[in-house]
């Protein structure tokens, strides 16, 4: 390969480092999006054998939002392999023990079940808050869009907007709200 073609090869197969903010995001929907970047399917040069996956750095994984009552109902099963080694852990308990685990398991379970999975998981870096090591921060080259719009808190709206919002209904003055 000539010198010019070599540089073109490095450019085309360059590995990107993406940043993803998991605040207020559904980990399972996020996992579907992250999976595309880890495997390299977002690239037109994709091939399963050409090792074209990117790195994904996820921040704020402690602020993920599970749908509905899943925090109380979702159960993570683990067996150590030894006798009486079965354990059932609820999502909120697991999140307290390790705030990155839920997202990590979500991504692991959505990835294709082949030998490439372990390598793709090694390229996933999850952090519970915004504190990211400098070495990794230096590498980041682009940011992924979030899957879901972050809901805005009522007290974050400007006051006049709240006051002037067209109320459709209000309780009458004598009504006692129990």
């Amino acid at each position: 390969m000539s010198a010019a073609k070599r540089v073109q090869q490095w450019a085309t197969f360059g590995r990107m480092w993406y940043l993803y903010d998991a605040k207020w995001q559904n980990p399972f929907h996020s996992a579907e999006k992250i999976k595309k970047y880890l495997s390299g399917r977002s690239k037109p040069i994709y091939h399963p054998l050409s090792d074209c996956g990117d790195h994904v750095v996820v921040i704020n994984s402690q602020d993920i939002a599970l749908p509905g009552i899943e925090w109380e109902k979702r159960v993570y099963f683990h067996h150590t392999g030894y006798a009486k080694g079965a354990s059932w852990t609820l999502a909120w308990e697991l999140h307290q023990i390790d705030p990155t685990m839920i997202l990590r398991k979500a991504v692991y379970n959505t990835l294709d079940k082949n030998l490439l999975r372990r390598g793709q998981m090694a390229r996933l870096h999850i952090f519970p808050n915004e504190k990211v090591p400098d070495k990794i921060l230096e590498n980041i080259s682009a940011q992924m869009r979030q899957v879901r719009q972050v809901p805005k808190r009522l007290d974050h709206y400007p006051e006049e907007e709240v006051v002037n919002f067209p109320k459709i209904f209000d309780w009458p003055k004598e009504h006692v709200i129990q």
Partner: protein, 188 residues
């Protein structure tokens, strides 16, 4: 049942033309053709017929090809073709009719010198990319070059559906009712 597959030991290659033949001018790749036959044996009768009837016409139509005739006693008839890039083709025409020999000669005339191998791809191009090959930094917002991550603008999700709050506000604006003294006061 096993389907017909090309044996891996029979070789494979990409589509190619010797010296990019056909891109500009097409040059016939056949260099010389040798007709080996027996003057008396019955197996060469087809070839003898071909030599009597069609050979001179073939030689006239293809002035760039050298035609050799090798009458050999007690030998089965065959055709041997040699090509400009050094490739060779051997076909036995024993017990074949004049028609068959004609078809084989035509087959050899149109071959390039490359051996018959499985084609790995059915297309080849010397210019795979006109605008330049893809790299991960094309079609990307130039903001990423100077941005300090994490960046709010790049992270925010695209809005696809209007939420209920926005719809109510829009309906209200359409009706254009006064803000105070209308809806927002309690009814006693």
């Amino acid at each position: 049942m096993s389907g017909k597959t090309w044996n891996l030991f029979w070789g494979s290659s990409f589509v190619r033309a010797p010296l990019q033949n056909g891109v500009g001018r097409y040059v016939q790749q056949l260099q010389r053709i040798t007709f080996k036959f027996c003057k008396t044996h019955g197996g060469s009768s087809g070839m003898r017929d071909y030599i009597e009837k069609d050979l001179i016409e073939f030689a006239r139509d293809n002035p760039g090809v050298v035609v050799y005739l090798k009458p050999r006693r007690h030998r089965s008839p065959c055709l041997k073709a040699e090509y400009l890039n050094g490739g060779e083709e051997y076909i036995s025409t024993h017990m074949q009719s004049c028609e068959d020999v004609r078809k084989w000669v035509e087959y050899m005339r149109t071959r390039s010198g490359y051996p018959v191998e499985r084609l790995r791809k059915y297309q080849h191009t010397d210019h795979p990319s006109i605008q330049g090959p893809w790299n991960p930094w094309i079609h990307r917002d130039p903001l990423v070059n100077i941005a300090d991550f994490p960046q709010e603008e790049l992270s925010a999700a695209h809005e696809y559906e209007k939420c209920a709050t926005e719809e109510v506000l829009e309906l209200f604006k359409k009706q254009k009712l006064p803000v105070s003294g209308g809806i927002n006061e309690h009814h006693d």
